[in-house]
Every structure is written in structure tokens, then in C-alpha cells.
């Protein structure tokens, strides 16, 4: 019989310190910063007069992608957020991608630290934008959307407060974290299954190891997509939240 023992989850996602306090997650985060910086430095150093090629082309495609995304969600006056959204997108993507790179095999975003920190930054940004654009009206407008009857106000206010102030950043962080952790756990599961089947005692079961191996390949390909998609979704949701903080200003003004 197959003696399959799944490791405890902390054994899969927690890492030893390379030196005090500096573990693999921190290493990946620092590497993401380093790679992003180097890519953009090289891209910025290339001659801008000629048609962009190689790294410069890549960087410009990313910049234009983010600009298009902001134009779609916030509008032209949101373009000043491009560098921030760019750093969100690139940092998250470069933290996601190690999940499928051999040897590293660990998405840094599968730990709660990075998603939570980024979500808190987004939370601070969109609240600050809302307060800056709508002053105190931001909170009343957020808690009680126009047209709510008076007797409903306490209930609606509570729901809106919980959903906008507490649940939004939490959901933003959890979405990234859980997606990457789930993908990582799937990879681990099928890798362990393959190993156990191929290296197990039973000769009969050995050829069956090819099945979870193909699943492993498929999930790796899927993770390539997910790594990009989660960075994209995090960025677009940040844009949508900022845009909502800015845009309801116009509605507010029109209502008066």
C-alpha cells in the first residue's frame, strides 16, 4: 500500500533563515526589487531615438499596458499613478514567478507578508485620495450612498463600512495570497504524488506516476498564467478603488 504522507503546510511554505531574519521570502522580495530596477535602468539607458528593442521594448510594453489599464479604470487624470501601479505590478509579478522557476520553487506572495503589506498600501492610498478629493464627504458618501432611506441608514452604514474599510484590503490581500498558496500547494501535491508513485515499492504503480507528472506540467503552465493574472488583478483592483474614490466626487457634485 502506498505510504503517502503529506507534509505539514508550514514545512512547505516556511523557510530557514539564511542569516538572522533573512529567509527565502526576503531573498525573493529583494531579488524582485533588484531585477525590476536593473531592467528599468538598462531600458532607460538604451537610446530612445531608435525603435525600442529587447529590454527597452519590454519595459515600454509594460508601461503602456499599465497606462492602458489606468485609462480604462480611472481615466486620463489617473495617469499620475502610473509609476505606483507599475511598481505594484512588477513587484507582484516578480514575486509570483519564482513559484514556477526550478530550484527556487517558491512564490513569495504565498506568504501573507507581501500581499498584506501591499493591500495596506493600497488601502492607505485610496482612502487618502478619497479624503483629498471629497474632504469629509468621502466618509458620508461611502457609508450612505445617495438615495438610502433614513431608517435603513444604520444598517447600510454598518455594511458599507465593513465592506469598504475592513473587507476590501483583506480581500485584496487574501486574493493574491490564497491564489498563490493554492497554486503552490497543487504543485507540491502532484510533485509528492509523482515521487511516491515512481519511487514506491510497488512495481505495478510505477508507470502510473506519469499521470500526476503530466498534471504537474499542466499546473506549472497554468501557474505561469496565474502569476501574471494575479499581478494584473491586484493592479486593476487598486486602480478601480482609487478611481472609485476619485469618481464618486463627480457624482456627488452632480447630485447637488
Amino acid at each position: 500500500m502506498l505510504g503517502l504522507e503529506f507534509p505539514v503546510i508550514n514545512e512547505v511554505v516556511r523557510w530557514v533563515d539564511l542569516f538572522p531574519t533573512f529567509n527565502k521570502i526576503a531573498l525573493i522580495a529583494c531579488e524582485a526589487t533588484l531585477i525590476g530596477t536593473v531592467v528599468f535602468l538598462v531600458a532607460g539607458a538604451a537610446d530612445w531615438r531608435v525603435a525600442p528593442t529587447g529590454i527597452r521594448n519590454l519595459a515600454e510594453i509594460v508601461v503602456e499596458f499599465i497606462e492602458g489599464l489606468i485609462l480604462e479604470t480611472i481615466g486620463p487624470n489617473g495617469l499620475k499613478w502610473t509609476p505606483h501601479m507599475l511598481s505594484f505590478f512588477i513587484f507582484i509579478y516578480l514575486c509570483n514567478v519564482p513559484g514556477i522557476i526550478p530550484v527556487v520553487y517558491m512564490p513569495a506572495t504565498a506568504r501573507m507578508a507581501i500581499p498584506l503589506f501591499l493591500a495596506i498600501i493600497v488601502w492607505v492610498i485610496y482612502n487618502a485620495v478619497g479624503i483629498k478629493h471629497q474632504k469629509a464627504g468621502y466618509f458620508t458618501h461611502m457609508l450612505w450612498p445617495p438615495g438610502v432611506p433614513v431608517f435603513m441608514k444604520p444598517l447600510v452604514g454598518l455594511i458599507e463600512f465593513v465592506s469598504n474599510i475592513l473587507l476590501r484590503p483583506f480581500a485584496l490581500a487574501i486574493r493574491l495570497f490564497a491564489n498563490m498558496l493554492a497554486g503552490h500547494m497543487l504543485l507540491v501535491t502532484f510533485a509528492i504524488l509523482t515521487e511516491e508513485l515512481v519511487q514506491g515499492d510497488s512495481v505495478l504503480l510505477k508507470p502510473l506516476g506519469i499521470l500526476p507528472f503530466f498534471m504537474l506540467l499542466f499546473i506549472t503552465a497554468f501557474e505561469v498564467l496565474v502569476g501574471f493574472l494575479q499581478a494584473y488583478i491586484f493592479t486593476i483592483l487598486a486602480c478601480v478603488f482609487i478611481g472609485a474614490s476619485m469618481a464618486s466626487h463627480e457624482e456627488h457634485a452632480e447630485a447637488h
Binding site: I9, L69, I174, R175, L181, I233, I236, L237, V240
Partner: protein
């Protein structure tokens, strides 16, 4: 589920084992149930988005963005279920 718990109560040797087994079962149910609604919801969102894109291919970019937003919001429920699964079972 009662049958499962009863079977566990007969085979489990200690109270701690029983508790762990119950937690594992609960975690499995939590994630399984949490995945039903968002599964239907995401299917609906994606289906409608494909319908819209097929009807109006020139609006495909906008529809795709909105579809991803809708999927992201729908998916949050399943992900919270996944978090509960981790908290309970592992």
C-alpha cells in the same frame, strides 16, 4: 457526516486525534461548500462575457477587463473558503 464522525469516534484512540479528525473533515466541507457558489458565479460571469464578446467583438477589451473584475470579486468567496480550510485543517 455523522456517520463519519461516529466511525472516527470508534477508531480514534485519543481525544486529540478525534478533534484533529473532526477539524480535517470540517475543513474539507468548508472548502467544498465555499467553492460551489463562486464556481457557478464565475461560470456565469465568463459565459456572459463570451456572449457579449461574440455579439460585439469591437468591445472585447472592455468586456475582458470587466470580466476579470467580476471574476476577482466572485472568486474572493472561494478564497475565503480556502483560508478557512487552511485555518481549520492544517
Amino acid at each position: 457526516m455523522d456517520a463519519l464522525v461516529g466511525m472516527l469516534a470508534q477508531t480514534a484512540t485519543s481525544a486529540a486525534d478525534l478533534k484533529a479528525a473532526n477539524a480535517a473533515i470540517g475543513a474539507g466541507f468548508a472548502y467544498g461548500l465555499a467553492a460551489i457558489g463562486p464556481g457557478i458565479g464565475i461560470g456565469y460571469v465568463a459565459g456572459k462575457a463570451i456572449e457579449a464578446m461574440a455579439r460585439q467583438p469591437e468591445a472585447a477589451g472592455m468586456v475582458r477587463t470587466t470580466m476579470f473584475l467580476g471574476i476577482a470579486f466572485t472568486e474572493a468567496l472561494a478564497l475565503i473558503g480556502f483560508v478557512v480550510f487552511i485555518l481549520l485543517g492544517l
